[in-house]
């Protein structure tokens, strides 16, 4: 059978090279990923172990999604503020924003999370209590403790600040990519700097930076797995807990990777859809 010539039954106008060319253009990576997805879905439905693990990890999905969305929204807000500071002619704003960006870019996110959770939060709590003590010497106000700040809050804020530093540079690049003439035209009509930014520069800049902003949303979903180092029970933490108790590694990690992959794929498609909708001017 193998010795049979490839062009034994040629369709009209089709040669072996054309068939090979067409085959090589197929998105094999996608087909393989879909097959893996089908296989794992089949396992979840039919295999008791897989369905048990899925049930465990499922409890963390809401946390993963919540951490991702909330941290990302704050990161974009911080990025907008930081980016405006980076292009500001006010030396105080410029230097504050640049200091923020440089610190964020130079320290690993994991270290930032530890630092925020175990250095900045206790320092803030101490400061609050000190101020409370000043206001009310009886000490009725000085009752905060570190436990009052849940780990999920610390980690969300830390992730927001970490990503905010990168988004600041994205916003800066977007704003600077809009020609100088746009600002001049707006100002020559009597608009203030703030009005020109709000109505002329930012609407154009944001359309331009949608692709990197979207990519960072997907990255945030992946980096949300870092919350597990503080014991926050996202899907990664659920998987770690299960593995620590059962020593069942491959199916657990298969399931964990599969969950992330499906979520990032869905997110990428959503981001692409938004980009094509918002990326053009009207028409």
């Amino acid at each position: 059978m193998a010795s049979e010539p490839a062009h034994a039954t040629p369709a009209p106008g089709t040669s072996q090279a054309q068939v090979l060319g067409r085959l090589s253009r197929l998105p094999w990576w996608l087909i393989l990923m879909l097959l893996a997805g089908v296989f794992l879905t089949y396992q979840i439905v039919n295999d008791d172990l897989y369905s048990f693990i899925f049930g465990k990890l499922r409890q963390g999905i809401l946390t993963t999604v919540l951490v991702t969305v909330v941290a990302y929204l704050f990161a974009v807000l911080l990025g907008l503020i930081g980016g405006l500071g980076r292009v500001s002619k006010n030396p105080v704003l410029y230097n504050l924003a640049t200091l923020y960006v440089q610190i964020i870019r130079g320290v690993p996110i994991l270290v930032q999370i530890f630092y925020f959770a175990f250095v900045l939060v206790p320092a803030l709590v101490g400061l609050l209590n000190w101020v409370g003590g000043l206001v009310d010497p009886q000490g009725a106000l000085a009752t905060f403790s570190n436990q009052d700040v849940p780990m999920i809050v610390r980690v969300v804020v830390a992730l927001a600040f970490a990503y905010g530093g990168f988004e600041a540079e994205t916003f800066r690049a977007g704003i600077e990519s809009i020609g100088k003439g746009q600002m001049e035209a707006a100002r020559s009509l009597g608009m203030s700097y703030v009005q020109a930014m709000r109505y002329v520069i930012l609407p154009q800049a944001i359309r331009r930076i949608l692709p990197p902003l979207g990519n960072d949303f997907v990255s945030m979903l992946k980096d949300s797995s870092l919350v597990s180092v503080l014991g926050v029970r996202d899907i990664t933490q659920e998987a770690r807990l299960y593995m620590a108790a059962s020593f069942i590694y491959p199916p657990t990690l298969n399931m964990l990777a599969f969950l992330y992959l499906s979520m990032t794929l869905i997110l990428s498609l959503a981001v692409k859809w938004i980009e094509t909708r918002m990326g053009r001017y009207g028409h």
Partner: protein
Amino acid sequence: MDATPQPMIVIKNLTKHFGRVKAVDGVSLTVEAGKVMVIIGPSGSGKSTVLRCINHLEVPTGGEIWVDGIKLTHNRKDINAIRAEVGMVFQQFNLFPHLTALENITLAQRTVRKRSEADARRIALQQLERVGIPEKADVYPGQLSGGQQQRVAIARALAMNPKIMLFDEPTSALDPEMIKEVLDVMQDLARSGMTMVVVTHEMGFAKNAADEVVFMDHGVIVERCAPDEFFDNPREARTRQFLSQILR
């Protein structure tokens, strides 16, 4: 009304340095209300810089500028107030690409003049009519020709009811067949009594519409006179040399 009208623009000994380059080196000018002044000169002569100093897009190094009796200082409120009275048209049009032609014209009316949406819209449509393209109100700049874009830019400036219009080489970025439609709009505007300062290479416009022609070179004014005199009987050798190069 005074027998001698108050000048709309007074420039006294204006200088502007970019680093070590003296782009404008001691220029004094007066533009009376309702007059059209055309500034010509070779590139790098400082003519655009003078224009951009009038609405403070460039901050002067030295000298004084009065617009409609108000002295230009660093006070931001004053500058925004003066800019609203001084319309500017750029070589590259600088329309806002994310807004339709109509929205381009209503934006500053709404945010600076605080007009209602209905008023701003009515005025915008009037101005589009005036520049001859009312049918393009809902079109985005990217779908307009260069000449149409520049006419929208003129309408955008006029909708603010400016007392002065500045034109910075308004036809230099246009294809030849589109220059006339923009110049026609400018001629109409000149006839309507608008105070205009125009930096241009269009000698035809200077001849037909200018009350006064200023020739600049190397940051200083070489010659300043009526257009007839300028083109027929220039006094300075440098002017004659420039004219012989561009008028063939």
